[in-house]
Symmetry: C2
Subunit: 433 residues, 2 copies
């Protein structure tokens, strides 16, 4: 059995349950929704990621003996609440945007229908997963878009928490990255892994010739040699001397990558190594990748910037109570009125309006009812959990295929790197009442 | 037994071992060092965090049957390498800055002495942990410094990966935060947890009066009521009406916090609730906290900005081979010459130069030898692992105490929020040769 995820939770979720149990309101039927009020500055769209991981975490969300013992010892909540938690199973329904879907401000990414107590306790864990994974996928999608088919390799594990690294590899792959350096992501999620050598391998040996020769001998001619430890031109010449024209690739990790790529390509070609690939790494982000498109580069290795969301490490999603049962047993929309943070009450439904040619044009959000499909549209909320049972796929491969399709529907403007409006305007069909 | 950490590693660490085993250089004695080439823009110092977690991860760094089976199935490395990995135990020595120590550019934060293969395979995991935890602690330390004794509460779990959240709570506590909202951080690391209620609790009820009354009844008068769901002035009046002057606190989560804090303080005082605390939350960072010092605020709840390193989610540490055995069996310094990324070869030793009054003045780094202590200085590298055995404390409480002492030694300029030079100049005593 997997370890419990139940304590990956904020203290106040449990004290709210205690107070609601005491007040007799814990069982009121409620709708919680996760959404982003805005996109990070400069972004045209976001990518929903982490849904599959969230559903797996839901399966493991159990307060077992150890969790209850901790809560009791530290008097986090009272005995009736501990008893309630010990029996906790989510029995409600969850809808959401399919993992890999594109979103804009206000898109109802997750809709949780359950009692108050069953739904509120999932807030922290669901947001942790969605905010992290969507931040990475949203950045990664821009990178793969501007890479225009050249493979992007995720290699940022060392720049983020060791478990975030596995999730980041998953989110980047979802958004079109070709592979990852992270072995656990390979094992856990079936993502292709790759890697060659670091500067330390060259420095270990008495000289670069010995390092290259032993790497080629052990890993084969298809390996990629790192050529910037000492002098790039000398290293490229040595690499082809040792490997011949069948050398798999060379990696550049420093300096002016655009100019060096041209020089190295010319040198490789002049040495007959026309099939040898040039891989570049070194603090790449979507802007650097876009600039490198002009250069003869074959693959991009991306580290820090993809795993940290390229300047936006959290997607800014919130999880809000939007509707609940009233004293008369009827559902009614609710929303806070806090300055700058007001939200739209009422259960949401969402439709991606598309032209007859299949081009996405608008995000239509219905309040309390499903907007009418005019024939070419796409319903965005799909069932994820029915009466507590996960009913949607949780694997990254399905999400990756979905993202490719969803992004292909977007207008060209969505893929621009310049600042601008969201790719799709958000239209609310009705105010809640 | 804890799960293995061995696959939280980059693919190329293992292929380098394969090539080094084949070349006969895998057993060369080596020194790897972790350090930061520079501090994030605007920072005067960094805080070493994650050392204890890294040492615990080292204990669990074992290639068991499942790990070997994955590597074999996916042909990551060859059979001799799999056999070597299956027997892997780190048997070398590690020194490092004590967890919680302050650092500047070039500070040798971790010094790993072992064979090449034993040391290189730890690169990714050690950097993941140190880069993440130090990024959080470095941001958190600035926040607690400008809070001038007012408690800071870490509540950013929902803005970062669910496991990063636990590590972030630990790093923030190390750097002087008073508590966390994250329950798992409470269980795993013994950090005080706290929390009260969200807007959803108020919205669940028919009106704010019912919400406040039930919260007070269940959680007691010492609880903190969230007063910005509808109208702050009305909510404060209601809160004191229901709880009386013994109300523990009110929380403001939106709007202009400085002005509101003054208004709410005046209102509370006029109602006789002079002991009721004002807690503010809402996208706080070190600059907002500094600005709020002028206002009558009693505690700061910090979320996104602390768990994501306040603009710098990775500390930028690297792990470099700086010295290795040569063909004659003697150790020699090595360093790459890559543009913009050149490093200083040779095993480092570090001393914090202090005045007679105990004020830190300089980071002295000796190459291949320990700098001489002039009587008031402090040696920075302490033994962490001896012949494979962890010999240093790994708990956060020791690190927290160490950080408090180390920060107190820094000159006043270190705590300025404005951009500027590192708090201590880094002086290399000698070039390696």
């Amino acid at each position: 059995m997997s370890p419990s995820t139940a304590l990956l939770t904020d203290h106040y979720e449990l004290t709210m349950i205690q107070a609601a149990l005491a007040s007799g309101h814990a069982d009121r039927r409620c709708v919680f929704e996760a959404f982003a009020r805005r996109l990070p500055d400069g972004r045209r769209y976001g990518v929903v990621a982490g849904t599959g991981r969230a559903l797996e975490a839901l399966r493991d969300f159990r307060f077992g003996e150890e969790e209850i013992a901790f809560l009791a010892e530290h008097e986090v909540v009272d005995r009736p609440t501990l008893d309630w938690l010990a029996d906790y199973r989510f029995t409600g329904d969850i809808w959401g945007y399919a993992e890999g879907e594109v979103y804009v401000p206000g898109s109802p990414l997750l809709v949780v229908e359950s009692t108050f107590a069953e739904g509120v306790v999932l807030e922290t864990l669901f947001l942790s997963i969605l905010n992290h994974d969507s931040a990475v996928a949203s950045a990664a999608s821009r990178m793969t878009a501007v890479a225009h088919g050249r493979p992007c390799i995720e290699m940022g594990s060392r720049r983020t928490h060791e478990e975030s690294a596995v999730a980041a590899a998953r989110a980047a792959y979802l958004a079109g990255f070709a592979s990852t350096s992270n072995l656990e992501a390979g094992r856990r999620h079936g993502i292709p892994t790759m890697g060659t050598a670091a500067h330390s391998y060259t420095l270990l040996h008495d000289d670069e010739r010995q390092a290259f020769a032993t790497q080629l001998q052990s890993l084969g001619l298809s390996t990629t040699l790192l050529v910037d430890t000492y002098d790039v031109t000398g290293a490229v010449e040595l690499a082809v001397e040792l490997a011949g024209a069948r050398l798999g690739g060379v990696r550049l990790d420093s300096g002016d990558l655009v100019n060096q790529a041209f020089e190295v390509r010319a040198q490789l070609d002049s040495l007959g190594a026309t099939g040898t690939r040039i891989v570049v790494t070194s603090d790449l982000d979507e802007h650097a990748i876009a600039a490198l498109h002009a250069a003869p580069v074959d693959a991009y290795g991306v580290g820090t910037k993809v795993v940290t969301g390229s300047g936006h490490p959290a997607a800014g999603m919130v999880y809000k109570l939007v509707s609940r049962e009233n004293g008369a047993g009827q559902m009614e929309g609710v929303a806070k009125a806090s300055k700058d943070k007001a939200s739209v009450g009422g259960r949401k439904y969402a439709l991606r309006r598309r032209s007859a040619a299949g081009l996405a044009t608008e995000e239509i959000i219905g309040i309390q009812e499903q907007p009418a499909d005019d024939g070419d549209d796409r319903t965005l909320l799909v069932p994820l959990v029915e009466r507590g049972e996960v009913v949607a796929p949780t694997d990254v491969h399905t999400a990756r295929a979905h993202h490719e399709r969803a992004r292909a529907e977007l207008p060209q403007s969505a893929l621009r790197m310049s600042h601008g409006e969201p790719a799709l305007p958000t239209t609310y069909l009705d105010d809640w009442s």
